[in-house]
Subunit: 225 residues, 2 copies
DNA sequence: TTTACTATGTGTTTGGAGGACGCAAAGGCT
DNA sequence: AGCCTTTGCGTCCTCCAAACACATAGTAAA
């Protein structure tokens, strides 16, 4: 391969992260306000350029922490966006990642020199996004719905201990449909993914719900519905 | 972004295609024999560098036709491989694609100046592959199995008209398990994905099977099993 | 303390889909 | 005409999931 060939020259690799959480009965995603040209002040997905000495996966973790302060969260490659015009500066391919966090980490947001601001947005009320980031978010939402149905990744969106109604809420909010409490409970318990902790909720106005935890906090392909 | 920064300089974007077909009761994939350094003479996946003025998806189509002569086949992005050491020459990220063809196109293989040879291999008897291409094939097989279960992509692996035993064969070969003829038939017909053509097989030694076709030759998410 | 209210936890019924399997039909071959 | 092979069709039976009624555990108000 001729590395000086202008057909290939000056290509760049980028990562962009779509971070989702479920909070306040909404799916929310994390956006940062861009601090440099082009598109200064516009909202974009957190992300950045991949260094030559790191893997793309690692770059995703690093950039996410640098731009938002979030670390140690579930991260999975989503899709690579390769339209030649997607970045006005140069030929830039973006590897998009889907990240999931439970809402207790929502408050850990850190402004950096590279971004003007970072904020959670209801995905139904997104502002205009620069580049092709709106398209990336759309695909991420699709993927999130599939993952919820075909795996146990709900564990990433809930605290260590949670109630069955909370779990059901996550499913209802993301999939946008209601389920029967009793059938949902039976189905999920039969799947064997979660177990009772023996403890119960405290300080509730009504009957306290039992607390459960996921047996394994690791991705597992399972048909939920 | 500083385009001269050595952290980002000299990055390259590549596409690699895993082409599958089902033939002779085996899953086969197409490999080409490399014509240049490094790894001259070794078997690799068909692929090549992405040009600056084309989308990554388009590059996949173009490279596949250039390297093998195959065109107009089902092509889907699989995963992006971004280990910094995966190519000894430079920082090269590879976007891997999964391609599917029906066996009638197996014979259309074209040697080019860029490759010494092109050949179909039983995936259970692959030679050593250069780069990280073995890993790519492994992931592609996994993905193929999932796709077969959760969508109608079987249509890409069969001719326009096919028999139910042929269809069942595709499933059995790829998934590696036997199904009951009568249950498979009932399930697939109930799915409504295929319809009878009214014609039958000809020149068979036994009872000729009815010919079917897929109603829509377009990807559709459906739970098959 | 008694009652009302609300959300959680448990049981029952019922219908449909899928797995196991028997048998008939349509060819070619001897 | 019989035999063999493969395809096509129907039945039984079990299990799972949707639909629904009722009991339980807490707070809040009378």
């Amino acid at each position: 391969m001729d590395m000086k060939n202008p057909k290939y020259k000056n290509q760049g690799i980028h990562v962009d992260m779509v971070v989702f959480t479920v909070d306040d009965k909404k799916i929310k995603t994390l956006l940062v306000q861009r601090g440099r040209k082009p598109f200064v002040g516009e909202w974009i997905l957190p992300g950045g350029a991949v260094y030559n000495d790191e893997s793309v996966d690692f770059a995703a973790e690093r950039e996410l922490e640098e731009k938002t302060g979030l670390k140690d969260l579930y991260l999975e490659q989503l899709h690579t966006f390769g339209n030649p015009k997607r970045d006005p500066r140069k030929r830039m391919v973006s590897v998009a990642y889907l990240a999931l966090v439970d809402k207790k980490k929502v408050s850990i947001l850190q402004k950096t020199s590279k971004t003007l601001d970072a904020k959670w947005f209801d995905i139904k009320k997104l502002p205009d996004l620069a580049f092709d980031h709106k398209e990336i978010v759309r695909l991420a939402v699709k993927s999130l719905r599939k993952m919820l149905i075909y795996s146990n990744i709900a564990y990433t969106l809930l605290p260590c201990q949670f109630t069955l109604p909370e779990l059901q809420g996550v499913y209802e909010i993301i999939l946008g449909e209601k389920f029967d409490r009793r059938n949902f409970r039976r189905k999920f318990l039969n799947l064997g993914l979660i177990e009772a902790t023996g403890k119960r909720e405290e300080g509730m106005a009504n009957r306290p719900a039992n607390l459960y935890r996921f047996k394994a906090k690791k991705y597992k392909a399972v048909d939920i519905l």
